[in-house]
Structure formats: C-alpha cells, structure tokens
C-alpha cells in the first residue's frame, strides 16, 4: 500500500519532521527524530533505487493532478542514485551530529538546528525527486535558506559574514535560475520537465530558449560553486558547524550538479547545450582552472577546514570536466566522482569535526602530533586525503581514471595531463597535514587530548570506509553511474572500455 507513495514520502517525511522538531523543543529528542527520519529516508531511497534499476522510471502525481498539469515527482536511475547519496550522508552525519552539535551549538538552539537541518535535507531530496522545474527552484531555495541559517550557527563570528555572503551570492544564483525557468515556461507553456523537454525539441534555434538555458547554467554554476563563481564556498565551509560543513560539502553542491545535468541533458538536450551554446568550450577551461586554482589556494591554507573547502572547489572542477565531455565515459566519470567525492569529503570534514571537538580548532599549528593522540580520526583523514589525491584503491582513483580515459578518448591529451598534474597539487596539501599530524611533536602547552567519542569516530569511518570500499569494489558505483549517464545521453550503456 505504501510502495506507490515512496517518491513523495521521500520528501514529505523530513518536511513533516522539521516542524515536529520545533514542537519538541528538546535538542536530544529533535536529534533522535532527525536520526530516525534520516535512516528511514535512506531505506526509502534504496528501495526506490532498486525499483528503478529493474524497471522504468517512477512517476508520482502530487494531488492526483496528472502531469503535466500538476507537480510530478519522477524517479529514474540518475536521481534515485542521488537520493541514495544524499540520504546516506544524512543518515551517517546525524549519528555523528549528537556529540558534535552539543559541543558547537548553543544548547537552547539545538532543536532549531535539527529543524533547519531537516529542512535542508528536505530541499535536497526535493530537488532530486521533483519532475517540475519550478518546484525544483522552490526546493533549491528551501535547502539554500536553511543552509544559510545552519552556517550562521557556527561559533566564529565570521560564520555570520560567511552566511551573509553565501546568501547574497546564492540568491543571485537562485534568481538567475528563476529567470531561466520562467523563460522556458514562456516558450513551452509547461513546467513539467519531461513535457518541457518534448516541447523544446525543434526549438534549438529559438533565442529565448538559448537565453533561458544560459541563465539556468549561470545560476546553477553559482550554486554548485564552479570557478570563478565559487567565492561563497570557502568561508561558508570553513566557519559552519562541523556537522553542517560535512553534510553540505558532501551533498549540496552535488545536488546542484545534478540539477545542471538534468537541465543540460534531459530538458534542453545536448544539442542546445553543446552545439547552439558553446558549453564544451566554456566549461572545460573553467573546470581546469577550478582544479588548479582550488588546489593551489588550498596548499597555502593554514586552517584545514578552509583547505578542504578550496579542495572542494577543485573537486567540483573534476566533476564539471567530466560532464563537459558529454560522452558516456565523461558523464560516468562525473557522476561517479560526484558519489565518491561526497563520501570522501564528507568523511574528511567529519574527521576534522572530531579534531574540532577536542581542540576547538583545526588550524595546522594546533594539530601537531595529533596522529598519536587521535589515531582513528587522523587515520581517517589520511585515508580520505589519499582519496582526494586519487591514489589507487581509493574511490578518488576510480573517478579520475574514468576522467582521464574519457579525455584520452576525446583526444584531449593536454586535459589528461592537467588532470594528473592537479592531483599532484592535492598531494601537496594533503601531505602538509599528514606531515604536521604524524611527524611533528605535539606542542607542550596543549593538554592531554583523547580520541573523539565513538559516536563521532564511527560515522567518520563509515564514510571513509565506504569511500575506500567503493575504490576497491567499483561494480556498483560505476555500474549505476554508467546507467545514469546512458539515460542522460539516451544511449545504451554498453560495456566499459
């Protein structure tokens, strides 16, 4: 009885839980609720993924109004995969959150924290699940607004200015998206994505269509922090509460990437994107610049959270680069990296949260000799860092492998070289941390430091372990990503190269 409603339950469950959190007015209960909702959401997402992998996409009409008139939720292999990613991160991060949030958030506001967290989760799931362009905008803003609030809850006063900056840039991005959706609606007279795609066929030359797509691309690039529209990201990640940083870094930009994929390939079609508009000329240089600038700036950061934030800018570059190939291998690389980086970066930020829990700082000079004091958290950091570099047997290797192979297939030699060269930059910043943590003596003035509580270390290792696992067993991730890429390109997946 419940099965047909899974697509909507996926979104409504956290939406309902958010106000209940406010009503509970108790931080611990709110956490428990958010945790339960997170795990149930994960279950739903997995069920959905299993169903769409076996069969056709699922369609759900909100209010019983048949699409294209009502709002439709439409689950296919691509967004089912994304739902699993987001729900997994949420479920794991919430286990972690209890201790970390108690340490970092004013006790009176903990229940509000979880309400905002659930809203953010709702927004991200909604973006993935909905088949309605305007609805996507609304969910995007639900997630964005709640992230601004979550970021502002960081301890440092710079969290406020970071949230403000993010709000300004995010809203500009949102407004661009709104314009794009409006123009597309004007041309097609529909907001349903599938319907819109049907009606856009043959309109590739239409100027309004091109303008609409341009606005959407710019707006989404802002939201996903594509260089040079990434300026909001470093501070936002650096000063947000640890839990929030981990959650957002792992999910928010990824979901925006999904939206970009959806609009580019499913709705407007690769024709508009890559032939009418020279996206294949614009995106790769920006992506490569992101890889290098992000990594280079990361090298010079002394705050490790900021370092990882800039690293995210670079990693987003890899994802976008894969997309910009517009080939099966390229898209597979982009989607796999989306998944792998979600796990890796999520785990890394969780590891840093463990450090922050004990030290109240994640500055490099404060982390000297921490490898012996917090062996588990630091080992997780190293494992995740290796993933960022793309060392074999980590998830990062798999995605970079496909990325370089895709580049070589396209005959883009220099791009392949640049991808590898930028990995070296990742090595440098990761190594800076490793060296300080393992090979420098602990400062004398620092008191006795112990490992963070198990409830934090365990989730950290779950994400890092998963990223290692998916670096070893790639059949699931690569298989699903390839299926999703084939769906976007409307080709048959075929065998791997």
């Amino acid at each position: 009885m419940i099965t047909p409603h899974l697509p909507v339950l996926q979104v409504v469950l956290p939406l309902l839980a958010a106000p209940v959190c406010v009503l509970l007015r108790n931080g611990r209960l709110a956490w428990l609720l958010a945790l339960v909702v997170g795990w149930v959401s994960l279950l739903i997402a997995v069920l959905l993924l299993v169903r769409v992998l076996d069969g056709p996409p699922l369609s759900y009409a909100i209010g019983g109004w048949a699409p294209p008139w009502g709002i439709e939720y439409r689950i296919d292999r691509l967004n089912a995969f994304l739902l699993v990613i987001v729900a997994t991160i949420d479920a794991v991060v919430l286990v972690y959150a209890r201790a970390s949030v108690e340490r970092e958030i004013d006790p009176d506001r903990v229940y509000l924290f979880y309400a905002a967290f659930l809203l953010c989760f709702t927004g991200l799931l909604g973006i993935a699940a909905t088949g309605d362009a305007f609805n996507l905008f609304v969910f995007l803003e639900i997630s964005s607004l709640s992230s601004y609030a979550l970021i502002a809850m960081g301890r440092d006063r710079r969290a406020l200015t970071a949230a403000y900056q993010y709000l300004i840039m995010g809203t500009i991005g949102a407004t661009f998206i709104l314009i794009g959706v409006g123009l597309a609606y004007m041309v097609t007279g529909t907001l349903n994505m599938a319907d819109m795609a049907d009606r856009l066929v043959g309109l590739t030359g239409n100027r309004t269509v091109r303008v609409a797509f341009a606005f959407l691309t710019v707006g989404l690039s802002l939201k996903l922090a594509l260089f040079p529209l990434h300026l909001w990201l470093p501070n936002a990640y650096a000063y947000a509460p640890s839990t929030v940083t981990a959650f957002l870094a792992a999910t928010a930009t990824k979901v925006s990437v999904y939206a970009l994929l959806r609009f580019t390939f499913s709705i407007f079609g690769a024709d508009v994107a890559f032939e009418v508009l020279p996206l294949d000329l614009i995106l790769p240089p920006l992506a490569i610049l992101a890889m290098f600038v992000g990594s280079l700036v990361a090298i010079f950061q002394d705050d490790v959270k900021r370092m990882l934030a800039y690293s995210s800018v670079a990693q987003i570059g890899y994802i976008v680069l894969g997309i910009s190939f517009a080939s099966l291998d390229g898209l597979t690389a982009g989607i796999v990296h989306l998944f792998n980086h979600a796990l890796t970066k999520g785990g890394l930020f969780l590891a840093l949260g463990c450090v922050f829990y004990r030290l109240g700082s994640v500055r490099l000079e404060d982390m000297r000799g921490l490898g012996r004091r917090m062996p588990l958290a630091m080992a997780a950091f190293v494992a995740g860092g290796l993933g960022l570099i793309g060392v074999p047997l980590t998830a990062g290797f798999v995605s970079k492998w496909y990325l370089v192979v895709a580049a070589l297939e396209n005959g883009w030699w220099p791009v392949a070289v640049l991808v590898l060269a930028s990995s070296l930059l990742a090595l440098v910043y990761v190594w800076r941390v490793v060296e300080v943590v393992y090979f420098q003596p602990a400062p004398r003035e620092r008191g006795e430091v112990r490992e963070a509580p198990l409830s934090m270390v365990l989730p950290t290792w779950v994400l890092i372990g998963a990223s290692v696992y998916f670096g070893v067993d790639t059949s699931v991730t690569v298989g699903v990503a390839r299926a999703a890429a084939a769906l976007l390109l409307q080709v048959t997946p075929g065998a791997g190269p």
């Binding site: 798999v398 070589l408 590898l420 065998a495």
Partner: protein, 486 residues
C-alpha cells in the same frame, strides 16, 4: 600450499607481520623476533616458487577486480621471481643488522620503523609479482608512502625537508608521467596485463619514444638523471633504511619496473624494431658517468655510496633499453649483484658510524685497524660493485658489455669501462685509507673496536654472498634467459 596460493599470500605475509609487529610494539624482543620470523617465512614462500618458475610455470592469483578488466592481480614470471628473491632474502640480514643498529643508536619510534619496513617489503613483493601495470603502480606508490616514515625517521627539520623532496619527486614523477603512460597504454591497448609479446603493437611508432620516456622518467625510483635528487636526499635516514632503499626494495623496484615495462609492455621485438629508446640510452650513459664523477667528489661516505647507486642503477636501465638478449640478462643480473654489493657497503658504512661516529672518508684513517672485519666486508662489496672477478658484479658487467657489443654500440662499451675505473677510484681509496695509520688510533696501539656483532655479521654474510654469486650464478642466469628465449 599450491603455488597459486603462495602467490596470493606472499604480499600479505609481511602485512600480517606488520600488524603483529605493531601489536608487539611494547616488547622489543618479541617485536624483533616477529620481524625475523616474518622475513624468514617470506623468503621461504618466495623461494618455494622458484622451481615452478624455473620449470616454465607462471603461477597467478587475483586479489580483486578493481574496474571491469582491471584487477589487482599477480603472476610470477622470471624477472619478478628474481626481484622477489633478492628482496626477501636481503630482508633477513637487513633485519638482523637493523636490530643491532637501532639498539646501538637507541633510536626512537622503533616500532614504527619495523612496521613500515615490513609494509615496504610487502609492497616490494607486490611490485615483483604484479600481473599488470595497475597492480605494479599501486604497490609502487604504496612503497613510496611506506618508506616515507623511514626516510624521515629522525624527525628533524633536515629530515622533513629531505622527506618532502623524496615524496615530491617520487610521487610527482609517478603521477605526472608513470600514471599518464599507464593511462595512455590502456587507451591504446585496452588492457594493462603484462604480456611477453608486449601490448603496444597498435601504437604509432612515432609516439613510442614519448611513451617510453614517460615510463623511464615516471619510474622515478630508477633515479635516471635529472630525477635522481631524492636518493642522496634520503641518506638522512638511518643506515638500515639506506640499505632498504639502495639494495633491498626501493631503487630495485624502480629498475625492475623499467625492465618489466620494456620486456612485457613494449616487448623486445618492438624495442628492436622501432628503437624507441635511443636517446634514453645516452641519457642512461650520461647518468652512469656523471653520477660516478659526483661520487668521486663526495667526502661523506653515505653520499658517495648514494651517487654510486644512481650510477649503477642506470646500468640496468641501459641494459633494458638495449633490449638485446645479453642486455636484458645483464640488466637482470645487475639488479641482483648490485643489491648484494651495495647492501654490504651500507652495512659497513653504518657499522663505522656506530663504532666511530665518523661519516667522512677523509676521517677514516686507521679505521681498518680497529674494524678489520668491517673493512674486509667493505672490500668484498667494493670489488663486486666495481665488477672484478671473482665477485658477482663481474657477471652483470660482462653481460652488459656483451649487450652493448651485440647492439654494435662501442661507445657504450667505453662508457662502461670508464665507469668501472671511476668505481675503483671512489671505492677502493676508502679501504686503502682506512689501513693508513692515523686518527686517534695512531697514538695508541691498534685494538679491536668493532660495531656490534649484529652489524658485522650481516655485512660479512652479504660480502661472502657476492663471492658465492660469482660461483653460482646459474639459477639466476637460467631464470633471466627465459625472458629472452621463452
């Protein structure tokens, strides 16, 4: 145990040992006992494969399938057999020596030292048995990472600086060139499995020199100039680590990988038909001479030995690039012979440091009188490295010269001979000088002041092995011959 099981288990064995060593960390005797037992077991396991391989068997095993068509897999062939034998055998004396050296020096972080050592050996075996480029690359990188803590063992600022150089060059070249070359190979051939006939039949011959150069430079552990600086930098490490780097595992993994790529990725036929390595041969020749000259100018004994290694490694690269029967056999022999010779020299250098705290050649007058056994071993090692009969090193030099002659490159023969003269010039004076009266010993009558037994005995053992290898090179020769005449 079937050979297949042994192959799959061999790289795991030192890893398990590493865990046990870590667990035994608080009890030094137990810890070092575990190290020795592991080393012994590893050697037995590896040696047990020798008859199979000699008989033409190629035992294989797959750990796991990483990407479709790409697996972490092992397949023992003669070259890998040789490298694995060298590494696992030398780990035993090296462990004994380590115990003596580390205890004598009262070094800190000894548990970390032994754990990393074991992991490095696992990686070396992994590199040796790798069935494809991906596996090779994986263990190659892990070898770099696992030896970093050993290189920076002292923890001083100088050690950290050297460590950065070590990592920077090795990882930089491997990701920037080696991985790129691997990906190129994959894109061109659709597979990364080593095959006796090579993989690159379909590649535009005009591009082969570029690809080969990517491999040769990408495998930074082979220390071909200009990517050699990491090796002298790494001499800040404790002497057993130097032995590991120079003889047991690290540089040997590098030249081994070059040989393996030439034989199994390019294939000897392609090498001889297309000559992709011509200009690299001259680079190797240049490295041989230049490094020898630099060594001549170094007063610090370990630095002198380090540059000597750079020179000697390029012998292997040279042999590989010649790609003639004699060249390949000579290159393979050189891996083996140089390992035993150089480890002897480092054991002795470390022993001298322990006993006299002297590092510079110019200070070593009279050492020969107080440390006669050490200096005797040093002499054995020197002669083998120089390539004089009756020592093992003479075989490799001999085959390399033959290879150069076969290829019709008389200039290379001249280079090899000149290098041998330079070897004499920078190695023998150490021995000679040590027997001169002088130093503190000059005042008092000569009396024995040797390093601990655990340091001297391994040096004598490996020195004697140099002699033995001259007399019994046959199994190794037969192994290597399988490469060129399957």
């Amino acid at each position: 145990m079937s050979p297949e099981t042994t192959v799959a288990a061999a790289p795991l064995l030192p890893l398990v040992g590493a865990v046990l060593i870590w667990l035994a960390g608080r009890r030094p005797n137990l810890r070092e006992g575990v190290t020795l037992v592991t080393a012994g077991l590893l050697f037995l396991a590896v040696a047990s494969l020798l008859p199979t391989v000699l008989a033409g068997g190629r035992p294989a095993a797959v750990w796991l399938e990483l990407l479709p068509g790409l697996a972490i897999a092992f397949r023992v062939e003669p070259l890998g057999m040789l490298f694995a034998l060298v590494a696992s055998l030398l780990w035993i004396p090296n462990s004994v020596y380590s115990i003596g050296y580390m205890r004598a020096h009262r070094e800190e972080h000894q548990t970390r030292f032994y754990v990393c050592f074991a992991v490095a050996l696992a990686c070396a075996v992994g590199v040796a048995f790798a069935a494809n480029l991906l596996t090779l690359f994986l263990f190659y990188e892990m070898l770099t990472l696992s030896t970093y803590p050993l290189v920076t063992h002292a923890g001083t600022q100088a050690a950290m600086r050297s460590g950065r150089l070590y990592l920077g060059i090795l990882i930089g070249t491997s990701i920037g060139f080696f991985l790129l070359a691997i990906l190129w190979t994959y894109a061109a051939a659709g597979t990364l499995d080593f095959r006796p006939e090579g993989l690159l039949g379909g590649v535009d011959p005009g591009l082969l020199p570029v690809l080969l150069a990517l491999y040769v430079f990408g495998i930074g552990k082979a220390a071909v100039m200009p990517f050699h600086r990491w090796l002298p930098a790494a001499m800040v490490a404790p002497t057993p680590v130097s032995a590991l780097l120079h003889a047991v595992a690290v540089v040997k993994a590098g030249v081994f990988a070059v040989l393996k790529v030439v034989v199994y990725v390019f294939g000897l036929d392609l090498m001889q038909a297309a000559h992709p390595g011509d200009w690299l041969i001259w680079l190797a020749a240049f490295t041989i001479l230049a490094a020898s000259l630099v060594a001549l100018g170094k007063d610090n004994l370990k630095a002198r030995l380090a540059y000597s290694t750079i020179s000697q490694l390029s012998y292997v690269v040279l042999g590989a690039l010649l790609a003639t029967t004699a060249g390949i056999v000579g290159g393979g022999m050189q891996i083996l012979m140089h390992a035993f010779g150089k480890i002897t020299l480092f054991f002795c250098a470390g022993a001298i440091i322990i006993a006299t705290h002297k590092e510079n050649v110019s200070e070593m007058r009279g050492v020969g009188r107080t440390m006669p056994f050490t200096m005797f071993a040093f002499l054995l090692g020197s002669l083998s490295v120089i390539g004089l009969p009756p020592f093992g090193g003479s075989w490799s030099k001999w085959y390399l010269m033959l290879g150069a002659l076969d290829a019709g490159r008389l200039a290379l023969v001249a280079v090899l001979m000149a290098s041998s003269l330079l070897n004499i010039a920078y190695l023998l004076p150490v021995v000679v000088r040590s027997y001169f009266p002088g130093g503190e010993a000059a005042a008092s009558p000569a009396r024995l002041a040797e390093a601990p037994l655990a340091c001297v005995v391994p040096a004598l053992f490996t020195g004697a092995a140099c002699l033995a290898l001259f007399l019994y090179p046959d199994p190794f020769y037969r192994l290597l011959l399988q490469l060129v005449a399957p």
